[in-house]
């Protein structure tokens, strides 16, 4: 029997090992190379000779590799006549090294797609091939995206305080990505959010983690066996993952108790209220509407206002919902879909059918387009009967 190296363990240690190297003053790209070499070494050596302290082992080996490379580089530079510049040792960071790594990978100088790729590669420890497959781009393209991102953040000082909000946006993007290769991006985002939550005590980190868990709980109920979308109201609630819901609710309650509300906590609160309803009819729309009001205050986002209109439609009535969307720009994504739904609830089937068909034309993905076309067809079929 060949002993296997615990890949999950290696992946979970990678960010903190990398963070230690960078906090000791290693350049980010060089540190990453050194960690990769240490990981390869671990895969070779550990099966026969498992270390007592895996993390310490990795740090020692990676740091040695980094120093070797730095010396070779310095010697080359001397041969080429460059002055040898000693990297200034960076001051000991007050914040957790792992958190610093998250902040670096989500640095504002990176585009969202670069930040996502770098986070999955560096903090998540996924291979370039896995990330490329998940985002449906050629591996060479993803490799370029990641190496450009590394170069971009190489000059960033590791001890600069960053904003956790940028990290949360990146994790939210990863979670929300609809594509799937052999990597479950939603599960990966949850893993990274959990890891972040252990590194930093921040109610919005908890809020995002809760939000993800509550949505992830519905994953099996969200699509029919043929791949078509099942709207929330029609989902088989028996297929919701109660363990995930309980975990999400507990994390959310602890976060809310700290009284530092943010948009992720508010979104999670809405998801929790849906999760709490035994049937769609028993949904507490009045409370959901209150949370949407909070969300509007926090974000002032047109998308939130549109979703709020749905809650108004349920809590107050479809006419009130339609009034609420009157003020919104109808070029907004999903505006027609929401209007169609509210018109149907108000009993105006011809208008609803027409709007569903228009919404289908503007649908951002195939599953939604098919769903909206089916809604239009359903109403048209009922009228012609």
């Amino acid at each position: 029997v060949t002993a296997q190296v615990d890949e999950a363990l290696l992946r979970s240690l990678t960010p903190s090992v990398l963070a230690v190297l960078v906090s000791r003053g290693a350049d980010f790209a060089a540190a990453e190379d050194a960690v990769q070499e240490a990981l390869a070494e671990a895969v070779r050596v550990w099966p026969a000779d498992p270390p007592r302290d895996p993390k310490g082992w990795l740090i020692t080996v990676a740091w040695r590799r980094f120093l070797d490379a730095a010396r070779a580089d310095a010697a080359r530079r001397r041969r080429e006549g460059h002055a040898d510049e000693e990297p200034a040792p960076s001051p000991a960071s007050a914040v957790d090294d792992t958190l610093q790594l998250y902040l670096l990978c989500a640095h504002p100088s990176l585009t969202p797609s670069s930040a996502v790729a770098l986070t999955l590669r560096t903090v998540g420890g996924l291979t370039t091939r896995q990330i490329a497959q998940a985002y449906l781009v050629p591996e060479a393209t993803m490799a370029q995206r990641i190496s450009r991102a590394k170069r971009t953040v190489s000059g960033v000082r590791f001890d600069q305080p960053g904003d956790v909000a940028t990290v949360l946006r990146v994790l939210y993007l990863v979670f929300n990505e609809g594509y799937s290769g052999d990597v479950d991006l939603a599960a990966e985002a949850i893993r990274l959010a959990r890891q972040l939550a252990t590194a930093v005590d921040h109610p919005e980190v908890a809020g995002l983690l809760a939000l993800m868990l509550l949505h992830h709980a519905r994953r099996y109920a969200r699509t029919a066996p043929d791949g078509s979308l099942v709207p929330l109201a029609e989902q088989d609630r028996g297929r919701w993952d109660t363990v995930s819901i309980a975990a999400g609710v507990e994390i959310l309650q602890a976060a809310l108790a700290r009284d530092r509300l943010g948009e992720y906590q508010a979104q999670a609160a809405i998801a929790a209220l849906h999760a709490d309803a035994p049937t769609a009819e028993e949904t507490d729309w009045a409370q959901i509407l209150e949370w949407y009001d909070e969300l509007v205050c926090l974000t002032d986002s047109p998308v939130v206002r549109l979703n709020r209109a749905v809650a108004v439609g349920e809590a107050v009535g479809p006419r009130a919902g339609l009034e609420a969307i009157m003020a919104l720009d109808d070029s907004l994504s999903r505006h027609a879909a929401v209007a169609a739904y509210l018109h149907e609830r108000a009993g105006d089937l011809p208008t609803a059918a027409r709007l569903y068909a228009r919404a289908a034309q503007r649908a951002p993905n195939l599953a939604e387009r098919d769903h909206l076309t089916r809604q239009a067809a359903r109403l048209n079929a009922r009228r012609s009967r």
Binding site: A363, T373, A377
Partner: protein, 135 residues
């Protein structure tokens, strides 16, 4: 092996025999149609002939260069454009005849009333790399 692009048009192709907009179908007819398309792609994956497929949103914009230092000129989206691509499937098959056969099967996807749509699909050969042995 040779690659072919099977092009589906929103507009620009001759009218299909069973030509009714999808929102006028019955919901179960839409389900049957989607199922047929999925099964077709899965079958070609099984035979080793599937390469890629992609659906496109109906609205596009024309763009052209407008000179140094200027923003590109955009035009559209056009409602009246003659030709509008809805999506494509790329297949890798042994012969032109096989490409035609498969396009014919794809065109038989069920539509309104459960009847085949008989829509016109465009089959376009890829221009491949030159062969190593040319003489």
């Amino acid at each position: 092996m040779a690659k072919y692009l099977l092009l589906k048009h929103y507009r620009g192709a001759p009218a299909a025999v069973n030509d009714l907009p999808m929102d006028q179908w019955k919901p179960e007819e839409i389900t049957a149609h989607v199922q047929y398309m999925n099964d077709f792609a899965a079958r070609l994956e099984g035979t080793g002939e599937f390469v890629d497929s992609q659906a496109l949103a109906p609205e596009g914009t024309f763009v052209r260069y407008d000179g140094e230092g200027r923003q590109p000129v955009t035009d559209g989206p056009f409602a009246e454009t003659k030709d509008l691509i809805a999506g494509w499937m790329v297949i890798d098959v042994d012969s032109y005849e096989r490409a035609i056969e498969l396009a014919g099967e794809l065109s038989a996807a069920p539509g309104a009333g459960g009847e085949a749509i008989h829509e016109w699909l465009e089959v376009r050969p890829f221009l491949a790399a030159p062969p190593t042995i040319a003489e």
